[in-house]
Amino acid sequence: MTGTAAGRPGLLSAEHVALIASGVSTIVASRNAQHQPSLMRAVGASITPQGDQITVYLNRVSASQVLDDLHDTGHIAVVFSEPYSHRTVQVKAGRVQLRDAGPDDAALLQRYLAAMEVQLQRIGFGASCTRTMLAHRLEDVVAVTFTPEQAYDQTPGPQAGARLADGGGKV
């Protein structure tokens, strides 16, 4: 089911909020009733300055299973990663809100695409690659909003997966 969970302000550090807000690689996962996981790359993402609400944008054409699973179970896991530095954070929640994206979201999606073009340029991929990867029609896009309930540092290495306490410290 969808809905709004109790907010956990302070779960993410200012640094993690900034990472997510800057427009980095965003991968969204869910699962069905049989616990078969599903996943797809988001075509956009945003976060409130306090870090208490995140919205990821999925293309219905390429992410139909993930959207079905999010609708049915509300369980979401999202990894945000900066391609050049591999700085990575994962957030999870048990409830999501789904809505169709509209004209108000277009500017945000454009900003995200521009940010990702810069990101991927740094690791050697041209703008045409990024545009192909993130291609969508606005009318196909669904906005998925949730309040992060858990957060994990997933920068590669032995510390990957360490759970973050309030304020972004490692547990």
């Binding site: 991968i27 969204v28 996962a29 869910s30 699962r31 616990h35 078969q36 996981p37 599903s38 996943l39 797809m40 790359r41 293309n59 054409v61 390429s62 179970t73 369980h75 979401i76 896991a77 999202v78 990894v79 990663s81 990575t88 994962q90 999870k92 048990g94 050697g124 045409s128 690659c129 192909t132 990867m133 291609a135 994990y152 997933q154 590669p156 290495g157 032995p158 990957a160 997966g161």
Partner: protein, 448 residues
């Protein structure tokens, strides 16, 4: 419409763009993680590296169902793979191959200890879904690779000497496969080190330069007896620098004059090292590299491993056959040796058989001992004609007890002399026979 197979999407498994895996915990919480590489095990299985006991691993041990998201590095099309965890391998070819690959990558970043492989997690691929969406045009498929392999195999089957076999493989790599930088190294079984016997595409040939087993991509492929292919490298820590540094560190006694520099590229972006094996025995390594990322594909690996198999068999057969003597064909007329009255001072150090010509380093070890014997026979008895067989039987050379490739030592010596434009040459006069050409007055000096 035909279903997509794992073989169709092998470029997605090149590790160019990290893959993503979604798993699900027993309480229903999904997890998503980046994978540095998904390994192709066979047409229906993939393997993931188990390095850390992370959430993905905890999840799949309880719930084996996972989903992979792959991106094609040329078309940028997505593929979703439904996979099921089967078991973890901690030995065998798949595990060794993955471990060597990781170690090879780690040798570039100085992180060898961190990226130790604990196991190879094997998954069955249950379904491959081409994700609907935009994509770029795929480059035209490469054709003619099998023809190149065939021509190389035919030439190897006809050749009757090691230098020909090395030239055939080198020509196939550089002219048919358009690989611009290549080395062939052979194993010194006594010292357990690899020495460069043929090279192409480097400013200095590096023939005679040595690499320890386990050192860098070349030494790692030899030690683990498995191919290692690195398709793209960060410029941070570079292999050739690491090799030079570790060479010096590990052998403080190795004086600079007898250190033939390793010829590798300063800034390689792709590298592949394939072991030369025969009957399970390590014979050497074929190594190729490029200044361009992504220039060595899984198809190049298939070709190189196949060629290495043929070359390994040829090396072993020719070694066993090496003492057979056959005169050169009638068409092979040898040019007379140039004559000159210049003085050439030859100094040999007994401790390591290193030989210096007019104070410049030529060669050491077995090849140095051979050269010293030849020059002494010439100086004392005026001999210029020799056979491989007599060298093998000559105790003064001190060939190692273990089986050694005498012909490879002669090739090394011959090439070093040519490279240095010395007035002394070795010229083959037929199978298992050669002539010493001396265009100088010799002064032979021995030192400890």
């Amino acid at each position: 419409m035909n279903a997509v197979t794992l073989d169709d999407i092998r470029p997605c498994l090149e590790g160019i763009i990290p893959a993503m895996i979604a798993t699900c915990a027993p309480d229903g919480t999904p997890n998503v993680a980046y994978l540095s590489q998904v390994y192709y095990a066979d047409s229906r299985h993939v393997a993931l590296s188990f390095q850390f006991f992370n959430k993905t691993r905890q999840n799949i041990l309880v719930n084996p169902h996972a989903t992979l998201l792959l991106l094609h590095p040329q078309t940028f099309a997505f593929y979703r793979l439904r996979i099921r965890y089967l078991h973890t391998q901690t030995d065998g070819p798949l595990f060794e191959g993955m471990r060597a690959q990781l170690a090879g990558i780690a040798s570039h970043s100085g992180m060898a200890g961190v990226f130790e492989l604990k196991g190879a997690d094997l998954y069955e691929v249950e379904d491959i879904e081409p994700v609907p969406g935009d994509c770029l045009d795929a480059p035209p498929p490469r054709s003619g690779l099998l023809g190149s392999v065939r021509r190389c195999s035919e030439r190897l089957a006809r050749c009757s000497a090691l230098d020909e076999a090395l030239d055939i493989v080198m020509t196939t790599l550089t002219q048919e496969l358009q690989i611009r930088h290549a080395l062939i190294l052979l194993l010194d079984p006594a010292l357990q080190r690899l020495y460069t016997v043929a090279s192409h595409g480097y400013t200095a040939s590096g023939v005679g330069s040595e690499i320890e087993l386990g050192q860098g991509v070349i030494g790692m492929a030899a030690q683990a007896r498995t191919p290692i292919r690195i398709t793209h490298m960060t410029g941070a820590s570079l292999y050739s620098h690491a090799v030079r540094r570790t060479l010096t560190d590990s052998q403080p006694g190795l004086t600079l004059e007898t250190d033939i520099p390793y010829p590798g590229l300063a800034q390689p972006q792709s590298q592949m090292a394939v072991p030369l094996l025969c009957a399970g025995k390590l014979l050497g390594v074929v190594f190729v590299e490029s200044t361009e990322a992504l220039s060595l594909s899984c198809e190049d690996e298939d070709v190189l491993v196949t060629l290495a198999g043929h070359l390994g068999a040829a090396i072993e057969l020719l070694r066993l056959d090496g003492d057979e003597v056959a005169p050169a064909g009638a068409g092979d007329t040898l040019l007379p040796c140039a004559t000159d009255s210049r003085l050439l001072q030859v100094r040999r150090y007994r401790s390591n058989n290193s030989v210096f010509l007019n104070d410049s380093y030529l060669i050491k070890g077995v090849a140095g001992a051979i050269f010293w014997k030849l020059l002494n026979d010439y100086q004392q008895r005026g001999r210029t004609e020799f056979s491989n067989r007599e060298l093998r039987l000559d105790a003064s050379i001190g060939l190692p007890e273990v089986v050694d490739n005498l012909e490879a030592r002669l090739i090394l010596l011959e090439r070093r002399l040519v490279e240095q434009a010395q007035p002394v040459r070795i010229e083959k006069t037929g199978r298992g026979q050669f002539k010493l050409c001396i265009g100088a007055r010799l002064e032979l000096i021995e030192a400890d």
